[in-house]
Assembly symmetry: C2
Homo-oligomer: 387 residues x 2
């Protein structure tokens, strides 16, 4: 399913075959938590912004509209009218970051809905059943994401349980894929490496999960409070222990510079809320760094957000107009900003793929890191994960 | 400029030539108050929903971003990237409905900004200068819109002043259109008939303004608290006194039934906030009346909002999905509802034009009035005017 086409140092240029189409990697997945991208972006808009993969959320869709509803509507692809590969997060991260008063047991997690407070339970089997109902292209394993500040002892205990949960996930998914009325009998499963910032736990866990021969492997538990340097160190430490013939997914990361650094360490898949969340604050990505469209200097600037950009916002609208819309709190302003930022991220990945193809990945990496060196700090202070 | 192609009773099928293209009437203008349609609808979306004319607002654009900014950006068409005819309201209605602590004098109106409270003045010349800066296709005269409950004496005094203001508007527009750096030297001026529900004042005013040989005539001061029957009576009374060789515009109206009844009384142009505002509340138009997409019965309904509808929402998305988006307060839900409702209104006008062409306007009128007889009341209770 996964085929490396080219390498440039440790950076991999590959393609990943799925039942919903071939994914060119490295790839950025566009976050559509509750089956819609924030900012009024429809699945019809996705072609125009170069989206390859959509990411939706097990926890949120289980609560609303309910995975049983989505199942009866024919699965998530039909429900949201999307013909692209969809990856569903397992709900684990949301159970641990969003839900109230949770209790973790061997069987799974007891918690309360963040919407109406009612009691819920999710374990490996429940997460797999929900994701099977959704019929996503790729399902993520149900795991615990311990705090970056957790002690070695707790992290070891947690990761051991996550391993046992992963085995239950795999068994349950095999069972579900074999059922007669399964939405997507070819649903794939990615395991998740955990271990906080402890090299020994990360490496041992990577070895154990690699033996399970899953469809792909994620590095989780990063971008949750550790420094960028710690994150890069974990990637350098753990990626070599994950199977090279499977895709590697760095969850919830990150800034353009983070992505370049992670590709340089062998990562294929990314997702992050920055492009949509920054759009909400008028923060727009360009190859020269971010600009804040609310700035008075753009009030009479008839040039596009970025010269040469082919996104739907830059093709038709000026900085002056978009600034006016954002100041007037018109929804179109947010929509144009989201379209631009997602286009930027999707095409940054395209530039990365071309650079690897042409053995000039290092030059691109340095250029982008230089452009973003000044305003990376702002991103570091807010969570990059969908919650 | 205005050519009647066909009549069916008093209903007129015509076309109106403008410097930004030919308008087929009867027509519904799509409200883009601050140079954007509510709900994240871009000018790129307008082709897909059959928009012929966009309506923007003098008062709002004067305050933000400032008509001087729009002028320096090359006018409203260039600023908002719109190649269709744009009509600008004069700001009169907003000064009287939205601004605080206003004082009406012969020279114009002193008032305070609804945004930051700063002191402002607008008279006929100021309104014309702002609209000239915006460079709209059609400018509206600056008028006072007296309350539907105002006394005969006040209305007479107000209408006399509005007539004097109209003459000043015409003189100022002639001057502005002759200036070297005017954005649109072919800008047209529509006068506005007032007189509340007093036949004698309405008729006398219609006669006086008809003599001024303007590009078109609006009936203002309706849908401001009077009954539908009073509104229809005013139209029957006044339209015969307006020039038949000029377009007639009923401002801020209304429901599908209102529009059919007004076309039946000789009206060509309409605008109303109902399609966008009702979208916000999940109220969607169909040929069988309105439906509320929030209703539980649509939770698992995979059919489109209306079978056979060609709007961007109905072409790709189901009632179940749109209901989910609205319940989850996802912006895409609102956007799809607005696109549907504007498509409905724009295509209702197309159906009206075809029915007049084919001498079956009465049958269409009865069909739509019947479909909307039950839920018209809800609309009657909220203002139909952009404010």
């Amino acid at each position: 399913m996964y085929k490396i086409l080219k390498k440039d140092g440790s950076a991999k240029r590959a393609e990943f075959q799925t039942v919903h189409g071939v994914i060119q990697t490295p790839v950025f997945m566009n976050v559509a938590t509750v089956a819609a991208i924030k900012g009024g972006v429809s699945t019809e808009d996705l072609e125009g912004i170069g989206t390859q993969v959509v990411l939706s959320n097990t926890y949120h869709l289980h609560l609303r509209p309910g995975d049983d509803v989505v199942y009866r509507m024919g699965g998530l692809h039909k429900f949201m009218s999307c013909n692209k590969p969809i990856l569903t997060d397992s709900g684990g991260f949301q159970v641990f970051s969003l839900a109230k008063t949770r209790r973790i047991k061997e069987e799974g997690v007891y918690f309360h809905s963040h919407i109406d407070g009612h009691k819920l339970f999710m374990g490996p089997e429940e997460s797999m059943r929900i994701q099977s109902h959704l019929g996503s292209t790729i399902a993520m394993a149900f795991d615990e994401c311990p705090s970056a500040k957790a002690e070695h002892e707790y992290v070891q205990m947690s990761v051991d349980r996550t391993t046992r949960w992963l085995k239950r996930c795999k068994a349950e998914m095999d069972r579900l894929n074999g059922l007669e009325y399964t939405v997507n009998p070819h649903q794939m499963l990615f395991g998740i490496n955990q271990g906080a910032i402890f090299d020994d736990i990360r490496i041992e866990h990577a070895k154990v999960i690699s033996d399970l021969d899953l469809d792909g492997y994620a590095v989780g538990g990063l971008a949750v409070g550790e420094t960028h340097e710690e994150m890069y160190h974990v990637l350098e430490t753990v990626v070599p222990y994950l199977p090279e013939n499977k895709p590697t997914y760095l969850m919830g990361v990150g800034t353009p510079a983070n992505i370049l650094e992670a590709v340089d360490r062998g990562v294929d898949f990314f997702d992050c809320v920055y492009p949509t969340r920054n759009a909400r604050h008028g923060q727009l990505y360009t190859h020269k760094g971010k600009l804040n469209i609310k700035n008075a200097r753009y009030a009479e600037d008839m040039s596009p957000i970025e010269e040469g950009c082919g996104c739907p916002a830059c093709r038709s609208y000026s900085r002056a107009y978009i600034r006016h819309l954002i100041k007037a709190e018109e929804m179109l302003g947010l929509r144009l900003c989201v379209l631009h930022n997602l286009w930027f991220y999707n095409h940054l990945m395209e530039e990365i793929r071309e650079a690897i193809d042409e053995d000039r990945f290092d030059a691109l990496r340095e250029e982008i890191i230089e452009a973003y060196s000044e305003n990376d700090q702002a991103d570091r202070d807010s969570s990059s994960h969908e919650v």
